[in-house]
Protein backbone atom coordinates (compact mmCIF):
# COMPACT_ATOMS: atom_id res chain seq x y z
CA UNK A 1 0.00 0.00 0.00
CA UNK A 2 2.97 2.31 -0.21
CA UNK A 3 5.35 3.77 2.35
CA UNK A 4 3.38 6.98 2.72
CA UNK A 5 0.23 5.12 3.78
CA UNK A 6 2.18 2.98 6.26
CA UNK A 7 3.63 6.04 7.96
CA UNK A 8 0.25 7.75 7.97
CA UNK A 9 -1.32 4.65 9.49
CA UNK A 10 1.28 4.50 12.21
CA UNK A 11 0.76 8.15 13.14
CA UNK A 12 -3.02 7.73 12.96
CA UNK A 13 -2.97 4.67 15.24
CA UNK A 14 -0.62 6.40 17.70
CA UNK A 15 -2.86 9.47 17.93
CA UNK A 16 -6.00 7.35 18.34
CA UNK A 17 -4.58 5.09 21.04
CA UNK A 18 -3.20 7.98 23.12
CA UNK A 19 -6.62 9.65 23.23
CA UNK A 20 -7.90 7.65 26.25
CA UNK A 21 -4.87 8.86 28.24
CA UNK A 22 -6.04 12.45 27.79
CA UNK A 23 -9.78 12.00 27.57
CA UNK A 24 -11.30 10.16 30.49
CA UNK A 25 -14.91 11.19 30.26
CA UNK A 26 -17.02 8.12 29.46
CA UNK A 27 -19.45 10.07 27.32
CA UNK A 28 -16.66 11.42 25.14
CA UNK A 29 -15.26 7.91 24.78
CA UNK A 30 -18.69 6.68 23.74
CA UNK A 31 -18.93 9.31 21.01
CA UNK A 32 -15.51 8.25 19.75
CA UNK A 33 -16.54 4.60 19.86
CA UNK A 34 -19.56 5.39 17.71
CA UNK A 35 -17.20 7.25 15.38
CA UNK A 36 -15.04 4.09 15.09
CA UNK A 37 -18.11 2.08 14.08
CA UNK A 38 -19.19 4.75 11.63
CA UNK A 39 -15.73 4.62 10.04
CA UNK A 40 -16.19 0.89 9.39
CA UNK A 41 -19.55 1.47 7.71
CA UNK A 42 -18.32 4.52 5.80
CA UNK A 43 -15.17 2.79 4.49
CA UNK A 44 -17.31 -0.11 3.29
CA UNK A 45 -19.72 2.27 1.62
CA UNK A 46 -16.87 4.20 0.05
CA UNK A 47 -15.52 1.04 -1.57
CA UNK A 48 -18.92 0.83 -3.26
CA UNK A 49 -19.30 4.52 -4.07
CA UNK A 50 -15.72 5.31 -4.97
CA UNK A 51 -14.75 2.06 -6.67
CA UNK A 52 -17.94 0.67 -8.14
CA UNK A 53 -19.60 3.98 -8.96
CA UNK A 54 -22.75 2.89 -7.14
CA UNK A 55 -24.56 4.50 -4.23
CA UNK A 56 -26.45 2.59 -1.54
CA UNK A 57 -29.11 4.31 0.54
CA UNK A 58 -29.68 1.13 2.52
CA UNK A 59 -26.58 0.76 4.63
CA UNK A 60 -28.59 1.46 7.76
CA UNK A 61 -30.48 -1.74 6.94
CA UNK A 62 -27.27 -3.80 6.70
CA UNK A 63 -26.01 -2.17 9.89
CA UNK A 64 -29.37 -3.00 11.47
CA UNK A 65 -29.34 -6.57 10.18
CA UNK A 66 -25.96 -7.10 11.83
CA UNK A 67 -27.19 -5.64 15.09
CA UNK A 68 -30.53 -7.47 15.19
CA UNK A 69 -29.18 -10.82 14.01
CA UNK A 70 -26.47 -10.66 16.68
CA UNK A 71 -29.00 -9.65 19.31
CA UNK A 72 -31.48 -12.38 18.38
CA UNK A 73 -28.92 -15.18 18.01
CA UNK A 74 -27.16 -14.43 21.30
CA UNK A 75 -30.12 -13.50 23.47
CA UNK A 76 -32.95 -15.64 22.11
CA UNK A 77 -30.95 -18.63 20.89
CA UNK A 78 -27.94 -18.24 23.23
CA UNK A 79 -25.19 -18.57 20.64
CA UNK A 80 -21.81 -17.16 21.69
CA UNK A 81 -21.35 -13.51 20.56
CA UNK A 82 -18.28 -14.01 18.34
CA UNK A 83 -20.05 -16.80 16.43
CA UNK A 84 -23.16 -14.70 15.86
CA UNK A 85 -21.00 -11.86 14.63
CA UNK A 86 -19.81 -14.09 11.79
CA UNK A 87 -23.26 -15.60 11.23
CA UNK A 88 -24.75 -12.11 10.92
CA UNK A 89 -22.06 -11.14 8.42
CA UNK A 90 -22.74 -14.22 6.29
CA UNK A 91 -26.51 -13.72 6.29
CA UNK A 92 -26.20 -10.01 5.52
CA UNK A 93 -23.79 -10.81 2.72
CA UNK A 94 -26.28 -13.25 1.19
CA UNK A 95 -29.08 -10.69 1.42
CA UNK A 96 -26.89 -8.07 -0.27
CA UNK A 97 -26.02 -10.59 -2.96
CA UNK A 98 -29.72 -11.20 -3.64
CA UNK A 99 -30.40 -7.47 -3.96
CA UNK A 100 -27.23 -6.74 -5.91
CA UNK A 101 -27.69 -9.35 -8.63
CA UNK A 102 -30.74 -7.77 -10.29
CA UNK A 103 -30.02 -4.11 -9.58
CA UNK A 104 -26.30 -3.81 -10.26
CA UNK A 105 -26.80 -4.88 -13.85
CA UNK A 106 -28.74 -1.67 -14.41
CA UNK A 107 -27.77 1.97 -14.28
CA UNK A 108 -26.62 3.54 -11.02
CA UNK A 109 -29.87 4.96 -9.70
CA UNK A 110 -31.68 1.63 -9.63
CA UNK A 111 -29.48 0.44 -6.78
CA UNK A 112 -30.11 3.75 -4.99
CA UNK A 113 -33.87 3.14 -5.09
CA UNK A 114 -33.70 -0.59 -4.41
CA UNK A 115 -31.50 -0.12 -1.35
CA UNK A 116 -33.67 2.74 -0.12
CA UNK A 117 -36.69 0.47 -0.49
CA UNK A 118 -34.87 -2.33 1.30
CA UNK A 119 -34.05 0.04 4.15
CA UNK A 120 -37.69 1.05 4.52
CA UNK A 121 -38.80 -2.60 4.50
CA UNK A 122 -36.26 -3.73 7.09
CA UNK A 123 -37.36 -0.83 9.26
CA UNK A 124 -41.00 -1.91 8.95
CA UNK A 125 -40.08 -5.52 9.77
CA UNK A 126 -38.10 -4.41 12.86
CA UNK A 127 -41.18 -2.59 14.13
CA UNK A 128 -43.88 -5.07 13.09
CA UNK A 129 -42.23 -8.36 13.99
CA UNK A 130 -42.27 -7.52 17.68
CA UNK A 131 -42.20 -11.09 19.06
CA UNK A 132 -38.77 -11.49 17.50
CA UNK A 133 -37.34 -7.97 17.44
CA UNK A 134 -39.01 -6.34 20.42
CA UNK A 135 -40.88 -3.96 18.13
CA UNK A 136 -40.68 -0.18 18.50
CA UNK A 137 -39.56 -0.38 22.15
CA UNK A 138 -36.36 -2.13 21.17
CA UNK A 139 -34.31 -5.16 22.14
CA UNK A 140 -32.53 -5.16 25.49
CA UNK A 141 -30.13 -7.42 27.36
CA UNK A 142 -27.68 -8.20 24.58
CA UNK A 143 -24.54 -9.83 26.08
CA UNK A 144 -21.20 -8.05 25.91
CA UNK A 145 -18.26 -9.42 23.98
CA UNK A 146 -15.63 -11.28 25.95
CA UNK A 147 -12.35 -13.08 25.31
CA UNK A 148 -12.07 -15.97 27.81
CA UNK A 149 -12.56 -14.28 31.19
CA UNK A 150 -11.93 -10.78 29.89
CA UNK A 151 -15.18 -8.91 29.23
CA UNK A 152 -15.40 -5.72 27.19
CA UNK A 153 -17.63 -4.06 29.75
CA UNK A 154 -16.47 -0.45 29.92
CA UNK A 155 -16.29 2.36 27.37
CA UNK A 156 -12.51 2.34 27.72
CA UNK A 157 -12.05 -1.40 27.12
CA UNK A 158 -14.36 -1.31 24.16
CA UNK A 159 -12.55 1.78 22.85
CA UNK A 160 -9.46 -0.31 22.17
CA UNK A 161 -11.49 -3.11 20.59
CA UNK A 162 -13.54 -0.89 18.28
CA UNK A 163 -10.63 1.25 17.18
CA UNK A 164 -8.50 -1.84 16.52
CA UNK A 165 -11.27 -3.16 14.29
CA UNK A 166 -11.73 0.24 12.68
CA UNK A 167 -8.02 0.64 11.91
CA UNK A 168 -7.87 -2.99 10.81
CA UNK A 169 -10.66 -2.41 8.31
CA UNK A 170 -8.84 0.69 7.04
CA UNK A 171 -5.62 -1.34 6.55
CA UNK A 172 -7.43 -4.17 4.77
CA UNK A 173 -9.27 -1.73 2.53
CA UNK A 174 -6.09 0.16 1.67
CA UNK A 175 -4.50 -3.17 0.79
CA UNK A 176 -7.52 -4.09 -1.28
CA UNK A 177 -7.49 -0.95 -3.39
CA UNK A 178 -3.78 -1.27 -4.03
CA UNK A 179 -4.12 -4.85 -5.18
CA UNK A 180 -5.04 -6.29 -8.56
CA UNK A 181 -8.68 -6.28 -7.52
CA UNK A 182 -8.40 -2.63 -6.46
CA UNK A 183 -6.92 -1.60 -9.79
CA UNK A 184 -9.73 -3.43 -11.58
CA UNK A 185 -12.21 -1.60 -9.38
CA UNK A 186 -10.59 1.75 -10.10
CA UNK A 187 -10.78 1.04 -13.82
CA UNK A 188 -14.40 0.06 -13.45
CA UNK A 189 -15.35 3.24 -11.62
CA UNK A 190 -13.50 5.35 -14.13
CA UNK A 191 -14.97 3.91 -17.28
CA UNK A 192 -17.03 0.77 -17.06
CA UNK A 193 -17.09 0.03 -20.76
CA UNK A 194 -13.35 0.47 -21.16
CA UNK A 195 -12.83 -1.76 -18.13
CA UNK A 196 -15.04 -4.44 -19.63
CA UNK A 197 -13.19 -4.19 -22.91
CA UNK A 198 -9.92 -4.86 -21.12
CA UNK A 199 -11.29 -8.09 -19.73
CA UNK A 200 -12.57 -7.04 -16.31
CA UNK A 201 -15.77 -8.80 -15.33
CA UNK A 202 -17.40 -5.57 -14.17
CA UNK A 203 -20.73 -7.08 -13.09
CA UNK A 204 -19.15 -9.64 -10.80
CA UNK A 205 -16.84 -7.01 -9.34
CA UNK A 206 -19.73 -4.67 -8.62
CA UNK A 207 -21.72 -7.38 -6.87
CA UNK A 208 -18.66 -8.46 -4.87
CA UNK A 209 -17.93 -4.91 -3.71
CA UNK A 210 -21.56 -4.42 -2.77
CA UNK A 211 -21.49 -7.62 -0.69
CA UNK A 212 -18.20 -6.65 1.01
CA UNK A 213 -19.62 -3.25 1.74
CA UNK A 214 -22.79 -4.72 3.29
CA UNK A 215 -20.77 -7.24 5.32
CA UNK A 216 -18.65 -4.44 6.81
CA UNK A 217 -21.84 -2.60 7.80
CA UNK A 218 -23.11 -5.80 9.41
CA UNK A 219 -19.85 -6.19 11.37
CA UNK A 220 -20.20 -2.65 12.69
CA UNK A 221 -23.84 -3.32 13.55
CA UNK A 222 -23.03 -6.47 15.53
CA UNK A 223 -20.27 -4.66 17.44
CA UNK A 224 -22.70 -1.85 18.16
CA UNK A 225 -25.30 -4.26 19.55
CA UNK A 226 -22.78 -5.97 21.85
CA UNK A 227 -21.38 -2.61 22.95
CA UNK A 228 -24.56 -0.65 23.73
CA UNK A 229 -26.46 -3.90 24.72
CA UNK A 230 -29.73 -2.26 23.70
CA UNK A 231 -30.96 -1.62 20.16
CA UNK A 232 -34.13 -0.06 18.77
CA UNK A 233 -35.36 0.46 15.20
CA UNK A 234 -34.80 4.24 15.33
CA UNK A 235 -31.02 3.79 15.04
CA UNK A 236 -31.40 1.95 11.74
CA UNK A 237 -33.84 4.24 9.96
CA UNK A 238 -33.29 5.63 6.49
CA UNK A 239 -31.72 8.72 8.07
CA UNK A 240 -28.64 6.76 9.16
CA UNK A 241 -28.16 5.69 5.53
CA UNK A 242 -28.20 9.35 4.55
CA UNK A 243 -25.72 10.15 7.30
CA UNK A 244 -23.16 7.60 6.16
CA UNK A 245 -23.53 8.62 2.51
CA UNK A 246 -22.94 12.23 3.57
CA UNK A 247 -19.83 11.12 5.48
CA UNK A 248 -18.47 9.41 2.37
CA UNK A 249 -19.18 12.47 0.24
CA UNK A 250 -17.65 14.89 2.73
CA UNK A 251 -14.52 12.72 2.86
CA UNK A 252 -14.54 12.27 -0.87
CA UNK A 253 -15.56 9.28 -2.96
CA UNK A 254 -12.62 6.97 -3.47
CA UNK A 255 -10.54 8.41 -0.64
CA UNK A 256 -10.40 5.96 2.27
CA UNK A 257 -8.53 8.41 4.49
CA UNK A 258 -11.19 10.92 3.58
CA UNK A 259 -13.81 8.46 4.81
CA UNK A 260 -12.16 8.23 8.20
CA UNK A 261 -12.00 12.02 8.29
CA UNK A 262 -15.62 12.42 7.15
CA UNK A 263 -16.92 9.89 9.66
CA UNK A 264 -15.04 11.42 12.59
CA UNK A 265 -15.96 14.98 11.61
CA UNK A 266 -19.67 14.35 11.15
CA UNK A 267 -19.96 12.16 14.26
CA UNK A 268 -18.30 14.80 16.44
CA UNK A 269 -19.91 17.85 14.80
CA UNK A 270 -23.39 17.53 16.37
CA UNK A 271 -21.76 16.92 19.78
CA UNK A 272 -19.54 19.97 19.44
CA UNK A 273 -22.37 22.17 18.19
CA UNK A 274 -24.77 20.84 20.83
CA UNK A 275 -27.18 20.79 17.95
CA UNK A 276 -30.81 20.32 18.75
CA UNK A 277 -31.93 16.97 17.39
CA UNK A 278 -34.77 18.67 15.54
CA UNK A 279 -32.32 20.46 13.27
CA UNK A 280 -30.27 17.35 12.54
CA UNK A 281 -32.26 16.35 9.46
CA UNK A 282 -32.17 19.87 8.10
CA UNK A 283 -28.43 20.22 8.65
CA UNK A 284 -27.59 16.89 7.00
CA UNK A 285 -29.73 17.78 3.99
CA UNK A 286 -27.95 21.08 3.69
CA UNK A 287 -24.45 19.60 4.08
CA UNK A 288 -25.26 16.90 1.53
CA UNK A 289 -26.48 19.44 -1.02
CA UNK A 290 -23.69 21.96 -0.50
CA UNK A 291 -20.89 19.37 -0.66
CA UNK A 292 -22.35 17.81 -3.81
CA UNK A 293 -22.94 21.14 -5.53
CA UNK A 294 -19.62 22.80 -4.76
CA UNK A 295 -17.24 19.93 -3.95
CA UNK A 296 -18.47 16.94 -5.96
CA UNK A 297 -15.07 15.29 -5.44
CA UNK A 298 -15.49 15.63 -1.65
CA UNK A 299 -14.79 18.27 0.96
CA UNK A 300 -11.56 16.65 2.17
CA UNK A 301 -9.99 16.20 -1.29
CA UNK A 302 -11.42 19.61 -2.22
CA UNK A 303 -9.54 21.34 0.61
CA UNK A 304 -6.41 19.26 -0.04
CA UNK A 305 -6.74 20.15 -3.72
CA UNK A 306 -6.68 23.87 -2.96
CA UNK A 307 -3.42 23.49 -1.02
CA UNK A 308 -1.87 21.15 -3.56
CA UNK A 309 -2.72 23.52 -6.36
CA UNK A 310 -1.09 26.43 -4.57
CA UNK A 311 2.07 24.40 -4.15
CA UNK A 312 2.20 23.48 -7.81
CA UNK A 313 1.43 27.05 -8.82
CA UNK A 314 4.35 28.25 -6.75
CA UNK A 315 6.75 25.72 -8.23
CA UNK A 316 6.26 25.33 -11.91
CA UNK A 317 2.92 26.82 -12.86
CA UNK A 318 -0.14 24.70 -13.57
CA UNK A 319 -1.22 23.44 -16.91
CA UNK A 320 -4.68 23.10 -18.36
CA UNK A 321 -6.00 19.54 -18.09
CA UNK A 322 -6.14 17.74 -21.41
CA UNK A 323 -9.54 16.95 -22.84
CA UNK A 324 -9.44 13.27 -21.86
CA UNK A 325 -8.36 14.10 -18.34
CA UNK A 326 -11.49 16.15 -17.75
CA UNK A 327 -13.60 13.10 -18.41
CA UNK A 328 -17.08 13.42 -19.79
Amino acid sequence: MGKKNKISLLIYALIIFTIPAILQNNYHLMVLNVAALNIVVVIGLNLLMGYAGQISLGHAAFYGLGAYLSAIFTTTYSFPPWTTLVMAMVITGLVAYAIGIPTLKLEGHYLVMATLGFNVIIYIVMIQLDEVTGGPSGFAGIPRLRIAAFAFDSDLKIFYLLWTVSIGVLILSLNLIHSRVGRAMAALSHNEIAARCSGIDTETYKVKIFVISAVLASLAGSLYAHYITFISPGTFSFFYSIQVVTMVLVGGMGSLWGSAFGAILLTLLPEVLHAVKEYNVLIYGLILMIVLIFFPQGLFPGIMGIFAKRKIDGQSGSREPLAWEKGT
Partner: protein, 294 residues
Amino acid sequence: MTLWLQFFQFLLSGLTTGSTYALIAIGFSLIHNATGIVNFAQGEFVMLGGMFMVTFLSLLRLPMPLAFFLTVLSVAAIGLLLERGPIRRARSKEILILVMITVGASIFIKGLSMLLWGKNPMTLPPFSGEAPIVFLGAAVMPQSIWTFAITVFVVAGLNYFFKGTVTGKAMRAVAASRRSALLTGIPVDRMILLSFTLSGALGAVAGMILTPITTTSYDVGVMLGLKGFSAAILGGYGSMPGAVVGGLLLGILESLSAGLISSEYKDALAFLVLLTVLFFKPSGILGRGRLRRV
Protein backbone atom coordinates in the same frame (compact mmCIF):
# COMPACT_ATOMS: atom_id res chain seq x y z
CA MET B 1 -70.00 -9.73 2.64
CA THR B 2 -69.25 -12.17 -0.12
CA LEU B 3 -65.72 -12.67 -1.28
CA TRP B 4 -66.52 -11.22 -4.65
CA LEU B 5 -67.90 -8.04 -3.15
CA GLN B 6 -64.90 -7.76 -0.89
CA PHE B 7 -62.65 -8.16 -3.88
CA PHE B 8 -64.55 -5.47 -5.74
CA GLN B 9 -64.29 -3.13 -2.77
CA PHE B 10 -60.52 -3.62 -2.56
CA LEU B 11 -60.25 -3.11 -6.29
CA LEU B 12 -61.98 0.26 -6.03
CA SER B 13 -59.85 1.47 -3.15
CA GLY B 14 -56.77 0.21 -4.97
CA LEU B 15 -57.71 2.27 -8.01
CA THR B 16 -58.02 5.33 -5.78
CA THR B 17 -54.58 5.14 -4.20
CA GLY B 18 -53.22 3.76 -7.46
CA SER B 19 -54.22 6.89 -9.32
CA THR B 20 -52.13 9.02 -6.96
CA TYR B 21 -49.20 6.63 -7.48
CA ALA B 22 -49.72 7.15 -11.19
CA LEU B 23 -49.43 10.91 -10.77
CA ILE B 24 -46.22 10.50 -8.77
CA ALA B 25 -44.86 8.07 -11.35
CA ILE B 26 -45.57 10.57 -14.14
CA GLY B 27 -43.64 13.18 -12.16
CA PHE B 28 -40.65 10.82 -12.00
CA SER B 29 -40.91 10.11 -15.73
CA LEU B 30 -41.11 13.79 -16.73
CA ILE B 31 -37.85 14.65 -15.00
CA HIS B 32 -36.18 11.42 -16.05
CA ASN B 33 -37.02 12.02 -19.69
CA ALA B 34 -35.70 15.57 -19.67
CA THR B 35 -32.54 14.99 -17.64
CA GLY B 36 -31.94 11.28 -17.07
CA ILE B 37 -32.00 11.70 -13.28
CA VAL B 38 -34.27 10.22 -10.65
CA ASN B 39 -35.74 13.05 -8.64
CA PHE B 40 -35.83 11.83 -5.04
CA ALA B 41 -37.68 14.95 -3.96
CA GLN B 42 -40.75 13.81 -5.91
CA GLY B 43 -42.27 12.29 -2.77
CA GLU B 44 -41.62 15.53 -0.88
CA PHE B 45 -43.58 17.41 -3.56
CA VAL B 46 -46.56 15.20 -2.69
CA MET B 47 -46.08 15.84 1.02
CA LEU B 48 -45.81 19.58 0.35
CA GLY B 49 -49.00 19.45 -1.73
CA GLY B 50 -50.90 18.11 1.25
CA MET B 51 -49.24 20.51 3.69
CA PHE B 52 -49.82 23.64 1.61
CA MET B 53 -53.44 22.66 1.01
CA VAL B 54 -53.97 22.19 4.77
CA THR B 55 -52.39 25.59 5.38
CA PHE B 56 -54.40 27.44 2.75
CA LEU B 57 -57.68 25.67 3.38
CA SER B 58 -57.85 24.99 7.10
CA LEU B 59 -55.59 27.68 8.53
CA LEU B 60 -56.13 30.59 6.18
CA ARG B 61 -59.71 29.55 5.36
CA LEU B 62 -59.38 30.29 1.65
CA PRO B 63 -62.06 28.95 -0.69
CA MET B 64 -61.34 25.49 -2.11
CA PRO B 65 -60.59 26.39 -5.76
CA LEU B 66 -58.27 29.24 -4.74
CA ALA B 67 -56.47 27.03 -2.21
CA PHE B 68 -56.13 24.31 -4.86
CA PHE B 69 -54.66 26.78 -7.33
CA LEU B 70 -52.28 28.36 -4.81
CA THR B 71 -51.02 24.93 -3.70
CA VAL B 72 -50.24 23.86 -7.25
CA LEU B 73 -48.48 27.18 -7.80
CA SER B 74 -46.43 26.93 -4.58
CA VAL B 75 -45.17 23.40 -5.12
CA ALA B 76 -44.50 24.07 -8.80
CA ALA B 77 -42.41 27.04 -7.66
CA ILE B 78 -40.46 24.74 -5.33
CA GLY B 79 -39.83 22.38 -8.26
CA LEU B 80 -38.62 25.34 -10.25
CA LEU B 81 -36.33 26.48 -7.44
CA LEU B 82 -34.87 22.98 -7.12
CA GLU B 83 -33.83 23.08 -10.75
CA ARG B 84 -32.73 26.71 -10.82
CA GLY B 85 -30.78 26.37 -7.59
CA PRO B 86 -29.05 23.10 -6.69
CA ILE B 87 -29.37 21.20 -9.97
CA ARG B 88 -28.20 24.00 -12.22
CA ARG B 89 -25.49 25.26 -9.88
CA ALA B 90 -23.95 21.81 -9.49
CA ARG B 91 -20.31 21.77 -10.60
CA SER B 92 -20.52 18.15 -11.67
CA LYS B 93 -23.19 17.09 -14.10
CA GLU B 94 -22.69 13.40 -13.44
CA ILE B 95 -26.06 11.68 -13.13
CA LEU B 96 -25.36 10.05 -9.79
CA ILE B 97 -24.19 13.34 -8.25
CA LEU B 98 -27.35 15.08 -9.46
CA VAL B 99 -29.48 12.23 -8.08
CA MET B 100 -27.80 12.57 -4.70
CA ILE B 101 -28.41 16.34 -4.77
CA THR B 102 -32.13 15.62 -5.03
CA VAL B 103 -31.73 13.25 -2.07
CA GLY B 104 -30.16 16.11 -0.12
CA ALA B 105 -32.96 18.42 -1.23
CA SER B 106 -35.54 15.88 -0.15
CA ILE B 107 -34.01 15.54 3.33
CA PHE B 108 -33.74 19.32 3.57
CA ILE B 109 -37.40 19.83 2.59
CA LYS B 110 -38.43 17.17 5.09
CA GLY B 111 -36.45 18.81 7.91
CA LEU B 112 -37.83 22.24 7.08
CA SER B 113 -41.40 20.93 6.92
CA MET B 114 -40.99 19.35 10.35
CA LEU B 115 -40.01 22.74 11.76
CA LEU B 116 -42.78 24.59 9.92
CA TRP B 117 -45.72 22.22 10.37
CA GLY B 118 -44.66 20.13 13.35
CA LYS B 119 -44.73 16.37 13.71
CA ASN B 120 -48.44 15.75 14.03
CA PRO B 121 -50.28 14.19 11.13
CA MET B 122 -52.71 16.53 9.42
CA THR B 123 -55.77 15.89 7.38
CA LEU B 124 -58.11 17.63 5.02
CA PRO B 125 -61.88 17.46 4.79
CA PRO B 126 -63.07 15.53 1.72
CA PHE B 127 -63.74 17.76 -1.28
CA SER B 128 -67.47 17.03 -1.11
CA GLY B 129 -69.58 15.09 1.40
CA GLU B 130 -68.71 12.00 3.39
CA ALA B 131 -71.72 9.83 2.65
CA PRO B 132 -70.57 6.80 0.66
CA ILE B 133 -72.20 6.14 -2.67
CA VAL B 134 -73.20 2.54 -3.31
CA PHE B 135 -71.90 1.34 -6.64
CA LEU B 136 -72.63 -2.25 -7.75
CA GLY B 137 -72.95 -3.19 -4.09
CA ALA B 138 -69.64 -1.65 -3.04
CA ALA B 139 -69.39 1.54 -1.01
CA VAL B 140 -67.47 4.31 -2.74
CA MET B 141 -66.41 7.47 -0.93
CA PRO B 142 -67.01 10.65 -2.92
CA GLN B 143 -63.34 11.50 -2.37
CA SER B 144 -62.37 8.38 -4.32
CA ILE B 145 -64.41 9.61 -7.25
CA TRP B 146 -62.73 13.00 -7.01
CA THR B 147 -59.34 11.36 -6.89
CA PHE B 148 -60.01 9.24 -9.90
CA ALA B 149 -61.68 12.03 -11.88
CA ILE B 150 -58.88 14.51 -11.20
CA THR B 151 -56.26 11.93 -12.21
CA VAL B 152 -58.09 11.19 -15.46
CA PHE B 153 -58.38 14.92 -16.10
CA VAL B 154 -54.67 15.53 -15.42
CA VAL B 155 -53.56 12.59 -17.56
CA ALA B 156 -55.82 13.71 -20.42
CA GLY B 157 -54.47 17.25 -20.08
CA LEU B 158 -50.88 16.03 -20.15
CA ASN B 159 -51.63 13.86 -23.15
CA TYR B 160 -52.96 16.88 -25.00
CA PHE B 161 -49.97 18.93 -23.89
CA PHE B 162 -47.44 16.40 -25.18
CA LYS B 163 -49.20 15.56 -28.42
CA GLY B 164 -50.94 18.82 -29.32
CA THR B 165 -48.80 21.76 -28.26
CA VAL B 166 -45.44 22.93 -29.57
CA THR B 167 -43.95 23.12 -26.08
CA GLY B 168 -45.07 19.58 -25.32
CA LYS B 169 -43.62 18.30 -28.54
CA ALA B 170 -40.39 20.12 -27.78
CA MET B 171 -40.25 18.35 -24.40
CA ARG B 172 -40.69 15.00 -26.13
CA ALA B 173 -37.92 15.92 -28.52
CA VAL B 174 -35.63 16.64 -25.57
CA ALA B 175 -36.55 13.27 -24.10
CA ALA B 176 -35.77 11.51 -27.37
CA SER B 177 -32.41 13.16 -27.83
CA ARG B 178 -31.10 16.12 -25.95
CA ARG B 179 -28.41 16.90 -28.46
CA SER B 180 -30.65 16.77 -31.53
CA ALA B 181 -33.22 18.90 -29.73
CA LEU B 182 -30.54 21.48 -29.02
CA LEU B 183 -29.44 21.42 -32.66
CA THR B 184 -32.98 22.11 -33.87
CA GLY B 185 -33.10 25.20 -31.71
CA ILE B 186 -35.20 23.91 -28.81
CA PRO B 187 -34.25 25.71 -25.60
CA VAL B 188 -33.30 22.54 -23.73
CA ASP B 189 -32.55 24.36 -20.48
CA ARG B 190 -36.03 25.81 -20.40
CA MET B 191 -37.57 22.41 -21.13
CA ILE B 192 -35.67 20.91 -18.18
CA LEU B 193 -36.89 23.75 -16.00
CA LEU B 194 -40.43 23.11 -17.21
CA SER B 195 -40.15 19.41 -16.42
CA PHE B 196 -39.23 20.16 -12.79
CA THR B 197 -42.03 22.74 -12.52
CA LEU B 198 -44.59 20.34 -13.99
CA SER B 199 -43.42 17.56 -11.67
CA GLY B 200 -43.87 19.89 -8.73
CA ALA B 201 -47.40 20.69 -9.89
CA LEU B 202 -48.20 16.99 -10.36
CA GLY B 203 -46.86 16.22 -6.89
CA ALA B 204 -49.06 18.98 -5.48
CA VAL B 205 -52.17 17.52 -7.13
CA ALA B 206 -51.32 14.03 -5.88
CA GLY B 207 -50.79 15.36 -2.35
CA MET B 208 -54.05 17.28 -2.31
CA ILE B 209 -56.23 14.43 -3.48
CA LEU B 210 -54.50 11.87 -1.28
CA THR B 211 -54.50 13.80 2.01
CA PRO B 212 -58.25 13.54 2.72
CA ILE B 213 -57.93 9.75 2.36
CA THR B 214 -54.67 8.92 4.14
CA THR B 215 -53.74 12.11 6.10
CA THR B 216 -50.30 13.64 5.72
CA SER B 217 -47.30 14.48 7.88
CA TYR B 218 -43.78 15.75 7.31
CA ASP B 219 -42.33 12.27 6.82
CA VAL B 220 -44.67 10.65 4.27
CA GLY B 221 -42.57 11.79 1.31
CA VAL B 222 -40.02 8.95 1.27
CA MET B 223 -42.63 6.20 1.21
CA LEU B 224 -44.81 7.91 -1.41
CA GLY B 225 -41.77 8.62 -3.54
CA LEU B 226 -40.69 5.01 -3.30
CA LYS B 227 -44.14 3.79 -4.31
CA GLY B 228 -44.32 6.21 -7.21
CA PHE B 229 -40.90 5.04 -8.34
CA SER B 230 -41.91 1.37 -8.06
CA ALA B 231 -45.01 2.17 -10.09
CA ALA B 232 -42.90 3.87 -12.72
CA ILE B 233 -40.54 0.88 -12.90
CA LEU B 234 -43.46 -1.53 -13.04
CA GLY B 235 -45.04 0.31 -15.95
CA GLY B 236 -41.79 1.01 -17.74
CA TYR B 237 -39.55 3.83 -16.60
CA GLY B 238 -39.96 7.01 -18.57
CA SER B 239 -43.14 5.94 -20.35
CA MET B 240 -46.24 8.02 -19.67
CA PRO B 241 -48.89 5.31 -20.28
CA GLY B 242 -46.57 2.97 -18.40
CA ALA B 243 -46.64 5.27 -15.38
CA VAL B 244 -50.46 5.21 -15.37
CA VAL B 245 -50.70 1.44 -15.78
CA GLY B 246 -47.95 0.85 -13.21
CA GLY B 247 -49.54 3.21 -10.71
CA LEU B 248 -53.01 1.69 -10.95
CA LEU B 249 -51.65 -1.85 -10.88
CA LEU B 250 -49.50 -1.18 -7.84
CA GLY B 251 -52.44 0.46 -6.06
CA ILE B 252 -54.65 -2.57 -6.75
CA LEU B 253 -51.95 -5.08 -5.73
CA GLU B 254 -51.34 -3.18 -2.53
CA SER B 255 -55.00 -2.91 -1.65
CA LEU B 256 -55.64 -6.60 -2.37
CA SER B 257 -52.63 -7.79 -0.39
CA ALA B 258 -53.55 -5.52 2.53
CA GLY B 259 -57.14 -6.73 2.49
CA LEU B 260 -56.65 -10.40 1.80
CA ILE B 261 -53.24 -11.16 3.34
CA SER B 262 -51.89 -8.68 5.89
CA SER B 263 -52.05 -4.92 6.21
CA GLU B 264 -48.92 -4.69 8.38
CA TYR B 265 -46.61 -5.39 5.49
CA LYS B 266 -48.59 -3.41 2.92
CA ASP B 267 -45.74 -0.95 2.48
CA ALA B 268 -43.29 -3.78 1.82
CA LEU B 269 -45.18 -4.88 -1.26
CA ALA B 270 -44.12 -1.94 -3.43
CA PHE B 271 -40.50 -2.90 -2.82
CA LEU B 272 -41.12 -6.56 -3.63
CA VAL B 273 -42.77 -5.50 -6.88
CA LEU B 274 -39.80 -3.24 -7.59
CA LEU B 275 -37.25 -6.02 -7.08
CA THR B 276 -39.28 -8.58 -8.99
CA VAL B 277 -39.62 -6.30 -12.00
CA LEU B 278 -35.93 -5.39 -11.89
CA PHE B 279 -35.11 -9.08 -11.72
CA PHE B 280 -37.27 -10.36 -14.55
CA LYS B 281 -38.12 -7.46 -16.83
CA PRO B 282 -36.22 -4.26 -16.00
CA SER B 283 -37.88 -2.42 -18.86
CA GLY B 284 -41.30 -2.78 -17.21
CA ILE B 285 -44.66 -3.66 -18.73
CA LEU B 286 -44.86 -0.96 -21.37
CA GLY B 287 -41.27 0.19 -21.52
CA ARG B 288 -38.96 -0.56 -24.36
CA GLY B 289 -35.59 -2.06 -23.66
CA ARG B 290 -32.89 0.46 -24.25
CA LEU B 291 -29.60 -0.17 -25.92
CA ARG B 292 -26.71 1.57 -24.34
CA ARG B 293 -24.47 3.46 -26.64
CA VAL B 294 -20.80 2.90 -26.11
